[in-house]
Subunit: 456 residues, 2 copies
């Protein structure tokens, strides 16, 4: 075996964690005092605070404000080795994983926390025209598209082509789609006006397309309604029951169920040069590979079905957590309920999987995973958010300014690392009072391409 | 003519400025109260504070901290239009410039401030192995190479190949080369130790190669000597009279004159996987194109020789300023002296060229340019800098900690925009006390390539 790591000196149990998202990070931390040898392998060198990624995509925050170097986070955890590398396959029979560079990593216990990526429901050919938002590179790509669309509109003489540059379409009204649409409207109405000479950025249209019948479907219906009202107040045009049937670089074809603007089941075209895909997530391909190698099941989204203790059936050495796991919560005395794909769930699974490994090493029984649901929050834009908190006395629900403040402090609080918190708060305080967005740096500019224009 | 701008409504004189570096920015600002129509065209959407670019390349600052959106800077200057575009040719006969997208821009007065790029002295094939540092994209590229070199070293089993990953070579000991080398040594000795498990980052070697006989040749000899001592104290190995004769991805071939380490005129090889080119600058290619179109002269570096008033001989409508200009300073009652390629000179030329345009419009005579030299400063690393100030009582020269504080406040003071200053100061204060560098985010990672390794 050709391992890039030295053999364990004291033959300590080797715990390998794939992925340093919320799940992998918490699992690694939970093992900090354990007599094991932990290796944390990730494709990137940073842990990304994904809930604020839309702020990087919309030029509100710089990348380092929401990304912390993994090595730095774990510099004092001496039982842990950080490795930059991409796992391409898991080989349970040999108790090792294969990296893209051809080397292998052996393990005694494996935690797979490889997460999810965006899904185009089989239409990956749409990806170049409507990028999704999962990584920093995605965020830079979307930021570039948004800023260059306004630049192209400023240069464009033809009114129809100019309007297409100023039509921003977000597909999918989950939390990311709602945040993106709300923030885009804020940029058009508050950040950019006064900076252009030929166009009025406030005339930009932000359209949010949702295939279902309401926005934020994971939220209770009353909060979906509040979110819809707040979106419309910000100037977002929300189209519900609108299914995208085609995307190319000139825009989208939409099939509409019923909406006030477009009556039932007609198909129409939206001209747009800047589209964002926030409609679907799919588990990492590592899920299906693992399922094939172990004979386990995956669900429709490619997530691996796990046992109550988060390990795989017949493979006690392997646990799957986070967005890659199709898991149930086992509250004492209650029916199992599915665990949602949110960051608090990933963190709790990380801690639970680590604890179960330690129980196994101590010869004890593992425990079933129980998801403690503290509620759900989503922001919409300036001063707008919806909050749904679980409390022993029943749900606490509120929206608007105080919900936004609650959302803000909750997110800043959970940001990794003190310095980042301070920088993010400062950036936001300044952005709030000035309406400015300072991370409006576009690199790698070629002049924006417009094949429809005779000038290009 | 196919212009992306509307015809001047009141037929105001059209002033076109190419480039929004220090020169272009100041020229545009100097015209803020003039009854002219200003267009500022730049290839990027941001003004870059180049003196701190090495901090982005070495993960000390995020890009938005040193780059301000041009549109935002000029949002209140109503006589100015910002345009994102790359000028590919100037056509003096037609009084217009050609953009890469095929459109043209007409002018009555033209200020060319297109700046400089790095020069490999005819060996452009070295560029992929030893990138230069001029743009944000360059800085990201260098940052990626530095951070991934340490990651690759951590994975490498072969001692010789590992040593090559930990050899960092900077070519050229001008201000940029000295800053890069000093900061690299700081990263290796103070930022990264403790974060790796198999390598000791402090064992990394930072080698600064200089063809001449001293570092910082624009400085007085005593300060060069101080800078050399400070570099060596930081752990940089400085090799003077060392000329690079070949570069490929495995390292450099160096011909050495005389140095304590390598006696006279031998040729030797340095194995390195991370090299930075800071040895030469060349004027923008627009200089030679302009010279050909107007019959003007360029100097060896491709800079356009200008008249005392910064306009071109026989082309009063065109001024060239900043790093693209080969200009003289005309102090009253003194011999003309060459203007150095530094940012204060570019700013002063920008103001002078704008003032001369206004004089011409008012039917007055133009004035010769006089460069007011306030001195020169360069930083070396933590607590280290050299300062050479001009004063009526003669030069004031100092080095070390107070020079570093002076350098720090001078740079933060000149940063564009209040918010950036605050963020930069905070980032530095934090980095200073913690030795941490937070902008250590690497995006667009493929696993580092190592063709010499059988694993790849």
């Amino acid at each position: 075996m050709n391992s890039p790591l030295p053999p364990s000196p004291a033959a300590l149990p080797r715990v390998l964690i794939i992925g340093c998202g919320f799940g992998g990070l918490e699992a690694a931390r939970a093992l900090r005092r354990a007599t094991v040898q932990v290796t944390l392998v990730d494709r990137t060198n940073h842990h990304l605070f994904q809930p604020l990624l839309y702020q990087v995509a919309t030029a509100g925050l710089s990348a380092p404000a929401i990304a912390a170097p993994i090595r730095h986070l774990f510099r004092r955890q001496n039982n842990l080795t950080t490795l930059l590398g991409e796992v391409t396959a898991i080989r349970p029979a040999e108790r090792c994983v294969q990296l893209r560079d051809g080397s292998t990593l052996a393990y005694d216990h494996l935690i797979v926390a490889a997460g999810a990526t965006h899904s185009y429901f089989g239409r990956d050919d749409w990806a170049p025209f409507a990028p999704g938002l999962k990584t920093l590179d995605d965020a830079f790509d979307i930021r570039r598209r948004i800023l260059l669309a306004f630049e192209a509109a400023e240069k464009e003489d033809d009114p129809q082509r100019r309007a297409a540059w100023l039509n921003f379409v977000v597909v999918g009204a989950g939390p990311t789609g709602v945040e993106m649409a709300g923030t885009l409207a804020e940029i058009a109405r508050h950040t950019l006006p006064g900076e252009f000479r030929r166009i009025d950025p406030a005339s930009a249209k932000v359209i949010l397309l949702e295939g279902g019948s309401r926005v934020l479907q994971a939220m209770p219906e009353t909060l979906s309604q509040r979110a819809l009202e707040q979106l419309e107040r910000l100037g977002v045009e929300v189209r519900l029951q609108a299914r995208v049937t085609a995307i190319d670089e000139t825009g989208l074809t939409v099939e509409s169920g019923s909406s006030p603007h477009h009556p039932a089941t007609n198909s129409y075209q939206i001209n747009s040069r800047c589209m964002v895909w926030a409609a679907g997530v799919a588990a990492s391909p590592l899920g299906r590979q693992l399922a094939e190698a172990t004979g386990c099941d995956t669900d429709r989204a490619g997530r691996v079905r796990v046992q109550p203790d988060l390990s795989l059936p017949g493979q006690a050495a392997i646990s799957v957590i986070g967005d890659l796991a199709c898991a149930n919560s086992h509250a004492p005395g209650k029916e199992p309920t599915p665990v949602p794909g949110v960051s608090p769930a990933a963190k709790q699974m990380g801690r639970a999987a680590a604890a179960n490994i330690l129980r196994r090493l101590a010869g004890k029984d593992t425990r079933p995973f129980h998801y403690a649901d503290y509620g759900n929050l989503a922001t919409i834009g300036r001063n707008s958010a919806v909050v749904d908190l679980a409390s022993p006395a029943g749900p606490v629900r509120f929206s608007g300014y105080f919900a936004w403040l609650f959302w803000l402090f909750a997110h800043v609080y959970f940001l990794i690392g003190f310095r980042n918190r301070l920088v993010v708060l400062l950036d936001w305080a300044w952005a709030y009072w000035s309406f400015a967005r300072y991370a409006r740096v576009v690199t790698g500019i070629a002049t924006p391409k417009d094949p429809a224009s005779p000038r290009q």
